[in-house]
Amino acid sequence: MSHDDENRMSTKQKLVYMANQIATFFDSKPHDERVEGIAEHINKFWDPRMRRQFLEMLAAGGAGMKPTVIEAGAKIRPPKQDAA
């Protein structure tokens, strides 16, 4: 099996990558809309366990996250305990 594992992202890396991708789209917007847009998008489309992992990484310093993603973190809805 030629599964090139060193080239594949882990789920957590993927979440950072996805958040940064979302941030990149909103880069062409004014600052407030940017932060609002990132947070709204993640709140609307990410399931609780994705947001939980994301917020954990953010709490641990948000390594690899773009500054606007880190800024948007405050507006990302923490999942309720029983959700997943």
């Binding site: 993927k14 991708q21 979302i22 959700a83």
Partner: protein, 959 residues
């Protein structure tokens, strides 16, 4: 029941608004100006004898059977080529006409075999009918003269005779029975637009010929069936009719292949399907078909169909056939165990774009009501989810804006990342017809597709961009339109937010978006971009048609937004002939999205977080719905690998073959404890399944499909499900086992629930569909008969919204290790993962996936046409044969994904659209090198697949 009879009016309908009144055989009849005398007569109920005329093609006037007498005119004009005039007095039956017609028929029959009793067209032959109609009783010339009928003549060879051509798997061409009416030739030209057929020779030597006297299978023929339909005799005849005989009843239903959603008559003898014939009144296809819908239905009765439920403990075990009761109770027990052990969110499901709306609705319902979470997704995730997002943001609805008829009013068609000739063939034929009538065409595609240049079609501009640069090119077109002042200010001021447009101008007018800059990244000459933009903005009614070449990118949603911007700024929205039209891949992908298959949305695209929307379902279903969005397919697989997602119910979807990065998909599936696959066949995903629930085909159930134009078409049951149950019944059994109070007796009751809870479907019911034939949503109080064209007078969301579209290069980049870009696509004869079409004779056209590579790149690598090559990306590698062609540009290679042996998705990566996680199938950096044959991966995969398909007590299932 009987056959659904369709009247053949002889010549096409005239669309003139001016009416003309005339008299035919003493009856007064009023018809639109431009109507033929033949058609006017038929409108009055009088059938003029005819052979070369049929209303699917223009009048030709060659058979001389339809002659009439017109008072005040000399001679006996052909009624098919004579237009009506006011006050005209027509006689269709006089002694003079009778003599002429009888003489004509006598000549025809003198050169035609008299094997009527054993002829396949017996009972359905227009020549036979006409011999009867004119009262032919004798052929004075005898049958021994020069003829095309007999192989031998006067003891020697008859050089006029030609053997039957049986090369096409679905129909035969018997030249001995041909009357050279040329209906087939004209159908191929006018209806299909392929120009594969011709009349060669002249006079008595005239023959119908496929290509240059080739066998049908070797010619350009695409086997759409239009010629077979047009043929008045048994010259072109379905092999199924030859084998079975004439049908005795027929039922109108909807094709289960692509998103065009053609209407067909399923012509039956008892429960045996004799043939599928396109239905003239079908509003999507208007009587046309392609090789898939017309002929490729044999999978429904294929010997590999699984008809009994099966379970197994481990995926390495052989399958064990069990009763439905055992399979259902085992599944529910497993799901409940997993939820108890790992949490409510540890299971989920995937709805099918091949199943009906009703079935899809039930799958999302069982997940939301029974699983009590929102972990539901559908294969639209991997195809058109960016369409949903992009058009939702800009216009307010997640669907195409037009009906297919709209193309008849289009002056400029802009095709982006789509090859309708292969993937939406019946729409392609309708578009080509319009192009031949003078409309202009722009194609944006890395590949020179059949749409760019084919007989009598040539794109005015082909923007052969580098894969992954759609946003740059579309934005550059907007730049040209804005900076050259070609935008429609009045439209924008009225229908859009003017200040947002100002912001957009500020963004797009920047020199970094100029074609001259974009040329550097996209490889498209600046002048071509400028020319395309000018034509689109100023060429009259301009319509955009796009496909997965737009959506399946890291910036898929951004391109959709860019497309929406283009249509808004030029005012090309909200009337006939214009619009933004996503060409949907599968038959019911629109419907599966409409039915709430996405993890964040309830039916009708209403976000799950909305209290008012949830209340509707909470009170109807008696549960408290989860207000959190669920997992999307790629997220489910990630969660499975992480150990938080353990069970899945997959209806009619083969994610292992269709989803990107096969290794990751198989790792995800392998990590689950209960994978339930409901399908016709042991598909690739079933290799990792613990429960297999046999599915039913579209011929075996009632329901509805919604096509790319939002048209809800009826699917009608024509035979008993071979597996015992329609798919909706299987889901209902699962729900009942879970203790849910479901008691649907018929899919119409499911539709009633959909209508009751979804505003855009409020007026949809089976009664209404029966009455109207089909209906396009929104269908409600405001539009009781449906909505063919959306956004008339204003956008659904209120003001149209311009959004900035900054180009961002994908992270999937070429480099020294992987210097080429792979893009993927479709071929006409195959459909999606090929599970259906590979089990039909369609394999005659496409037995394997090929890698298209430019001669320059092939030369560099020492490759010859047909060589085995290794195709490698950072995700994996596979082998397949090379096809050297300049359809692709240097630096770009292309393949299809119809065959599991190739597994093109071993190569594709885990990059995806920023907004929707739609995978980036269309751009993968690869290397290509000579190879000796299949890779170890392919061999391992095949071994694993063979092992996993074993069924206890049965011979090994063959693929």
């Amino acid at each position: 029941m009987g056959l659904v009879h369709e009247i053949d009016f002889g010549t096409p309908v005239s669309k003139s608004e001016k009416q003309v009144t005339l008299t035919v055989d003493g009856f007064t009849v009023t018809v639109p100006e431009g109507t033929s005398v033949m058609r006017a007569s038929m409108e009055a109920g009088i059938e003029v004898p005819k052979l070369c005329a049929t209303d699917m093609v223009d009048a030709f006037g060659s058979c001389r059977l339809c002659l009439v007498e017109i008072e005040g005119r000399a001679g006996t004009p052909a009624s098919c080529t004579t237009p009506v005039t006011p006050g005209m007095v027509v006689h269709t039956q006089t002694s003079r006409l009778k003599d002429i017609r009888k003489g004509v028929m006598e000549l025809y029959i003198s050169d035609h075999p008299l094997d009527c009793l054993t002829c396949a067209a017996n009972g359905d032959c227009e020549l036979q009918d006409m011999a009867g109609a004119v009262g032919l009783r004798d052929v004075r010339y005898g049958y021994d003269g020069d003829n095309h009928v007999f192989a031998k003549r006067n003891g020697g060879e008859n050089f006029n005779w030609m053997a039957k051509d049986e090369s096409n798997p679905y129909f035969t061409y018997d030249p001995a029975k041909c009357i050279v009416c040329s209906r087939c030739v004209r159908a191929c030209e006018e209806v299909q637009g392929t120009f594969a057929l011709t009349i060669e020779g002249r006079g008595f030597g005239s023959r119908v010929s496929a290509g240059m006297q080739e066998a049908f299978i070797d010619s350009e023929c695409v086997s759409c069936g239009a010629c077979v339909q047009a043929c008045p005799t048994a010259t072109l005849q379905e092999k199924s009719v030859i084998q079975i005989g004439q049908p005795e009843h027929s039922v109108v239903t909807t094709c289960a292949y692509c998103g065009v959603g053609c209407s067909f008559k399923a012509e039956m003898r008892g429960e045996e399907l004799v043939r599928m014939v396109p239905w003239k009144d079908g509003k999507a296809n208007r009587g046309h078909s392609c090789v898939k819908g017309r002929f490729a239905y044999g999978y429904a009765t294929h010997r590999e169909r699984i008809l009994n439920p099966m379970i197994r403990e481990k995926i390495t075990d052989p399958w064990r056939e069990v009763s439905w009761e055992e399979a259902i109770s085992h599944t529910v027990k497993e799901f409940r165990r997993i939820q108890y052990q790992y949490g409510r969110g540890a299971i989920g499901g995937i709805t099918s774009s091949r199943c009906t709306n009703e079935e899809t609705y039930l799958v999302q319902k069982i997940i939301r009501q029974g699983f009590r979470n929102n972990n539901v997704d559908t294969c639209a995730r991997v195809c058109h989810s960016p369409t949903g997002y992009g058009l939702g943001q800009t216009y307010g609805t997640s669907a195409g804006t037009q009906d297919f008829d709209s193309v008849e009013h289009t002056d400029v068609a802009l095709i982006i990342g789509a090859n309708p000739a292969a993937a939406h063939p019946v729409f392609a034929s309708r578009l080509k017809k319009r192009l031949r009538a003078g409309a202009k065409l722009i194609v944006i595609d890395p590949r020179r597709t059949e749409m760019v240049k084919s007989p009598h079609i040539e794109a005015a501009h082909h923007l052969a961009l580098k894969p992954g640069t759609n946003v740059a090119v579309v934005t550059a077109m907007a730049h040209v339109i804005v900076t050259e002042g070609l935008f429609n200010e009045a439209f924008i001021r009225e229908r859009c937010d003017w200040s947002e447009f100002q912001d957009y101008i500020e963004f797009v007018a920047d020199p970094r978006h100029a074609p001259e800059e974009v040329e550097k990244i996209s490889g498209v000459p600046a002048e071509t971009i400028r020319g395309a933009a000018r034509l689109y903005a100023t060429g009259g009614n301009a319509a955009i048609y796009y496909g997965l070449g737009v959506t399946e990118h890291s910036q898929g949603s951004t391109t959709v937004i860019g497309i929406a911007n283009l249509a808004m700024m030029t005012g090309n929205i909200g009337r006939r002939g214009v619009g933004v039209n996503p060409l949907r891949g599968q038959n019911n992908v629109q419907g599966s999205c409409d039915m709430g298959s996405f993890p964040h949305e309830l039916p009708g695209y209403r976000h799950i977080s909305g209290d008012a929307v949830r209340d509707i379902y909470d009170s109807l279903w008696g549960v408290k719905l989860d207000e959190e969005p669920g997992l999307r397919i790629p997220n489910m697989l990630d969660a499975a690998v992480d150990g938080t997602f353990k069970g899945i119910y997959i209806q009619g979807e083969d994610i292992l073959q269709s989803d990107p990065d096969t290794s990751h998909v198989s790792a995800g599936l392998a990590a689950m404890e209960c994978v339930v696959v409901q399908d016709l066949f042991l598909n690739e995903t079933a290799n990792y399944a613990h429960v297999f629930l046999p599915g039913s085909t579209f011929l075996e159930k009632d329901g509805t499909f919604t096509n790319a134009e939002r048209r809800i078409n009826r699917v009608r049951k024509v035979m008993t499900p071979k597996n015992g149950y329609a798919d909706w019944e299987v889901t209902q059994m699962l729900a009942q086992e879970m203790g849910l109070n479901w008691n649907y007796q018929h899919p119409s009751e499911i539709m009633d629930e959909i209508a009751k809870t979804t505003p855009s479907f409020a007026f949809v019911s089976y009664d209404r569909l029966e009455k109207l034939g089909s209906v396009q949503w929104p269908c409600n109080e405001k539009a009781p008969e449906g909505t063919p064209i959306m956004h008339i007078g204003g956008f659904v969301r209120g003001k149209g919204k311009f959004i900035r579209t900054e180009y961002v290069a994908t992270d999937e980049k070429t480099g020294p290790r992987f210097p080429l870009l792979l893009t993927t696509g479709r071929i006409l004869s195959q459909y999606n993962v090929g599970a259906q079409t590979r089990r039909t004779e369609n394999v005659a056209w496409h037995p394997e996936d090929l890698l298209e590579i430019h001669p320059h790149d092939a030369e560099n690598r020492g490759l010859r046409d047909g060589d085995w090559v290794r195709l490698q990306s950072r995700a994996g590698q596979t082998t397949l044969r090379a096809q050297i062609t300049d359809r692709v540009s240097p630096g770009v290679v292309y393949t299809t994904f119809h065959h599991p042996d190739t597994q093109a998705n071993v190569i594709t990566t885990d990059f995806s659209d920023w907004a929707t996680n739609c995978p980036e199938y269309k751009v993968t950096a690869v290397q290509v090198a000579p190879s000796n044959g299949p890779t170890d991966w392919q061999k391992d995969y095949n071994d694993q697949a063979r092992q996993s398909r074993r069924i206890t007590g049965r011979m090994e299932a063959a693929e």
